[in-house]
Symmetry: C2
Subunit: 338 residues, 2 copies
DNA sequence: CTGAAAGCGCTAACAG
DNA sequence: CTGTTAGCGCTTTCAG
């Protein structure tokens, strides 16, 4: 707790605290020598302005909230890095909130955040979130809110996302070109636009290339690792098992590989697979994984940049930007011909 | 920004703000029916107490800082999860600061954090940090500080770490038992106690099992991915190349695998490798990686728990705890015989 | 049981 | 160029 207040500093200098305050802010209405005196003394006494007193007065916290489903995922880790990096240069502080894919938690967090604790919010919605009213409320409160990655289309806000539809299309087309006939789409949520967009891209590619779209090939997974393993095991043990698969989310990759190993399916000979993933280890997997790699770091950075731009403006109005940063298909052995 | 203040709420209820304040805190000196009225109206008006006004008055922020070198690493991701989870249950807020392994940044962050912004700090020191004075200062300021994972032995603080010496010993012994004669130790820092402890464990095992300890086998890597690749490539191209390796840090694993592939060294036939790592993908690598797996989530949780316990006490005194949570050797194919 | 008043540390009019 | 004053929204004595 900082003991030395601006009052103490002023007293030491025989100045008023307002003069000291202005001097510390390098105000033009203070003489150069006074500024120097103040700065020197501030350093000497190790004066640290109390941020909350300042926030209270200025009605500005210089803090943002990052609300995400989880952190043990390389996408969000990299996104956080992008956000934190730019926040640091702008002198902002970053509060992290995890929703654990739970809509109730998300709601609570968003309520709390309206207290004035933060100047703005960066968010990637939880997979369980279907209703949007808790977001509308925050929105109505006038708090700048930027969605990144997992956006909600129908809410009017700035968004930073990737080309999910095209990526889904590209992934499916790649598998078709590599000879797959029955391509499974492994999804994590039927609510998330991001998943639906990828799914729609996948369906469009199948249709364009005269492959039947079968509901049986669209597999909804959960947030539970053990359950996912079972779901994938059931899928791959079927007679009519897929010969290609698209994992729409990173955490399905490990169970998918394990299931294939368990039942002696060879990747890519028996089944080819593409993962939406930012894993550094994709290239050293057995076999190396073909990925749709998202620009996670850039997305975090861009979302933060848009937020800070908004915060610097006087009257912020919604939905100024809908930025799309392209993902990249990186072909590796998991989709090799035979 | 919350528009409805406690004043407005009081006016609406024809009560004084002090009564309302007490009622909201469920004070015993307020009648039950008044409490109910207040609570109902608070809900109706969507009253959100301004946290900074409260913090200013109470000199307590209900916020902690987590200061770590990076986040795109599965150890820290999981640790954050552990921290956040318990913070959420305790009603605390979590500020994230990344040092990028840079001692200067770390210093700046710790200075800022003394402003009263947080009630305590959880920290894992940067690999560049050798001097400790910036930590002493924070320490002297009386701000509770808990180290986790990357601790500094000589600083008196609560610590949560893993059994690094034993892990290093165990890793080396395992490689010796699997027939390795020339075991490299891939380190990231010569300052970090954590690295030195692992290194010392490694050395002790070599000595105990009559293997020569050679300085040439102790390889100092950097924080730059490209550089690390080159360093490892040079190492493995030598005539006297190692037939076993211990990666003391997760990020060296991918370059190590890539180098081996590049120069056609087979893992484990030509060289066996163990990684200190929490990677979910360890089991599906080519080949599956033998790991020393740290209890990252538990370490984060424990560190946070100790901090909160400290915050609840009146007069906190240092170095009450030095908790060691054991890591686990998980044997996989990368250290197979032949 | 309720209210009046003071003040946390800072900033921003407004005077001088 | 410097100082006085008021107040951000809340909590906490201390009276009533």
């Amino acid at each position: 707790m900082s003991q030395v207040t601006i009052q103490a500093l002023a007293k030491e200098l025989n100045l008023s605290k307002s003069t000291v305050s202005k001097a510390l802010k390098d105000s033009h209405e203070i003489s150069v020598e006074t500024k120097e005196r103040v700065l020197r003394m501030a350093k000497l006494l190790q004066y640290k302005p109390n941020p909350y007193a300042s926030s209270l007065r200025r009605k500005k916290s210089n803090t943002i909230a990052v609300v995400i489903p989880e952190v043990a995922d390389s996408f969000f880790s990299q996104a956080i890095k992008g956000i934190e990096e730019i926040a640091q240069t702008k002198g902002y502080h970053v509060l992290i909130y995890l929703t654990y894919e739970n809509s109730e938690k998300e709601k609570k967090i968003l309520e709390d955040v309206q207290s004035g604790r933060v100047d703005g919010v960066l968010m990637s919605v939880s997979s369980e979130t279907s209703s949007t009213e808790h977001i509308d409320v925050l929105h109505a409160a006038g708090l700048p809110l930027i969605f990144f990655d997992r956006t909600i289309q129908k809410i009017t806000t700035d968004k930073v996302r990737t080309d999910d539809y095209e990526s889904g299309y590209q992934a499916a087309r790649h598998l078709i070109e590599r000879g797959c006939k029955h391509i499974a789409f492994l999804s994590i949520s039927s609510h998330l636009d991001i998943d639906n967009n990828r799914l729609n891209g996948y369906k469009a590619a199948l249709t364009d290339y005269n492959c039947a779209v079968s509901e049986k090939m669209i597999v909804l997974c959960t947030n539970n690792a053990a359950e996912n393993y079972d779901i994938l095991l059931q899928l791959m043990k079927k007679k009519q098992r897929p010969d290609g698969a698209i994992a729409s989310v990173e955490k399905l990759i490990t169970p998918f590989y394990l299931v294939c190993r368990k039942i002696n399916l060879s990747i890519p000979a028996d089944v080819k697979v593409i993962g939406f993933s930012n894993l550094a280890t994709a290239q050293i997997l057995q076999p190396p994984l073909t990925t749709i790699t998202q620009p996670a770091f850039e997305m975090g950075k861009t979302a933060a940049a848009i937020l800070f731009k908004a915060l610097e403006k006087r009257n912020y109005s919604w939905r100024e930007e809908d930025v799309i940063i392209r993902s990249e298909l990186i072909i590796r052995d998991s989709t090799d011909m035979k």
